[in-house]
Symmetry: C3
Subunit: 200 residues, 3 copies
């Protein structure tokens, strides 16, 4: 289950990266680089910070294959995806839910405190997208009005609460991912956001 | 002493990050992220480069608490701090002096050459602020006219000179930090800067 | 041979960094930082990702000396180099060829799959220059129209093909470096580039 979610999140982020890069008219190689960085950026930062090296994607070629597949699908269906317009948003949201979970799990496996695990989950989910947006010269989604990283933190808290209930691990993973995905869909639909501090 | 300085530097940088971010009207979560990154950015880069992982703040929750405290204080007193205007500059300078020292010390503990230790001190002191400025879309302080990183290098050289004198460690730490802080205050007051190369 | 190439690549990238930074009228310290980051950026990222820490330049002061030498030469001959105009391009190209090879070699030494080794070679060759361009506020060479990283990938494939022939290691290194350098020279002369996807 864990592994399956990882594959799904990687492909979703690779496609979101490829679509953004094609929209910016990068050349095929540039599109691949952005797809790759979006897919592995968060996990790479996490692995480097906890000292799990060589980082994940270097030890398991499956990631490379999945990214190539996502890249190919994004190219093949680029006109279809573009019409839907929400597809980019959907892939990004799926990746967000799944990668938060993977970051949480890695933190627990490394024996870190829940607060640090939640930071790792948030980082895993958000950093690839931040890098994608910076390289494509977009304002990072994470800094736009909508809540984004906040959802990962909230999802992390729910994860540790549910974990106390001794749920089956697969159920725990699936439920947490789905909750994060659902909250983001609701957050965007109903325009939830945090208010800036009044200042001066 | 070492630990106390680390706490002071972390809080000073957290506050400087929070104040900059509030000035940029980021939402409360964004302000927290900037405060966090400013406080731990330099040390995280240093720890990753020397292979001390999981990086410092993941192994000791005290950093997280101190950052939350600095964040809270910056929010509570944001109108006061804003009037003073120099407060941001002061916090930044305290962090600069203290973090240079911590970087130097870590380098020595890792058994690295003094030249590399000075590079680590400079990196620890400067990288958090560079990240803060980039994320807040400011020109990094380090690249503005005034000298900044140069002071850290100078402080590092003084540290290794004083170290030959067999001073008490606490005294050595305190004196070096204060010298760095003093030089920066003087540098800004008297507008010391390096001249660019004549070119063409 | 391996070591000699590393020294040559480091100096070439240090000079390319220093020339770019002087062109941007940074102060002497800023020029040094850019020279340093350009020279060690790619190797540092590679070492961190594969877990070879403290990273290379911290363990061997020779890199620091070579960078200082390259920095000094770039300053001394800055007016000469500026007239030639192609010198920056030439140094960048030499660094590209040599550093690709070093990245490939490190990947093999770490026991990684050829695909990952090629990624490491590309990263080693390109990341220093990307950082140089971002810090100097230039559009990264890698994202401009001309092919660049693609050449590193191509060079990596040639390397693994030639390796099957049981060539002497020195010959293998030299030939691969020269092929990469030659392809880039041809690519720029004849304006080879990848076409962006037609979109919409």
């Amino acid at each position: 289950m864990f592994h399956l979610l990882d594959i799904i999140g990687t492909m979703a982020f690779a496609m979101s990266g490829a679509l953004t890069a094609m929209h910016k008219k990068l050349d095929p190689f540039g599109v691949f680089i952005i797809a790759f960085v979006t897919a592995v950026g968060g996990g790479t930062l996490r692995d480097v910070l906890i000292g799990r090296t060589p980082v994940g994607w270097m030890q398991d070629l499956q990631y490379v294959y999945v990214i190539i597949l996502g890249y190919g699908l994004a190219i093949l269906f680029r006109k279809k995806f573009d019409k839907l317009r929400t597809s980019l948003f959907l892939f990004d949201t799926i990746g967000l839910g799944v990668f938060t979970l993977i970051g949480l799990e890695r933190g627990i496996m490394t024996g870190l405190h829940p607060v640090i695990c939640i930071a790792l989950g948030t980082m895993t989910a958000c950093f690839g997208g931040v890098t994608r947006d910076i390289l494509c010269n977009e304002i990072p989604t994470i800094f736009r009005r909508e809540i984004y990283a906040t959802i990962c933190i909230f999802g992390g808290i729910i994860f540790f609460v549910l974990r106390k209930l001794n749920l089956d691990q697969d159920v725990l993973y699936l439920v947490t991912s789905l909750i994060i995905i659902a909250i983001r869909l609701l957050a965007v639909k109903y325009k939830w956001y945090l208010k800036a501090f009044d200042h001066k």
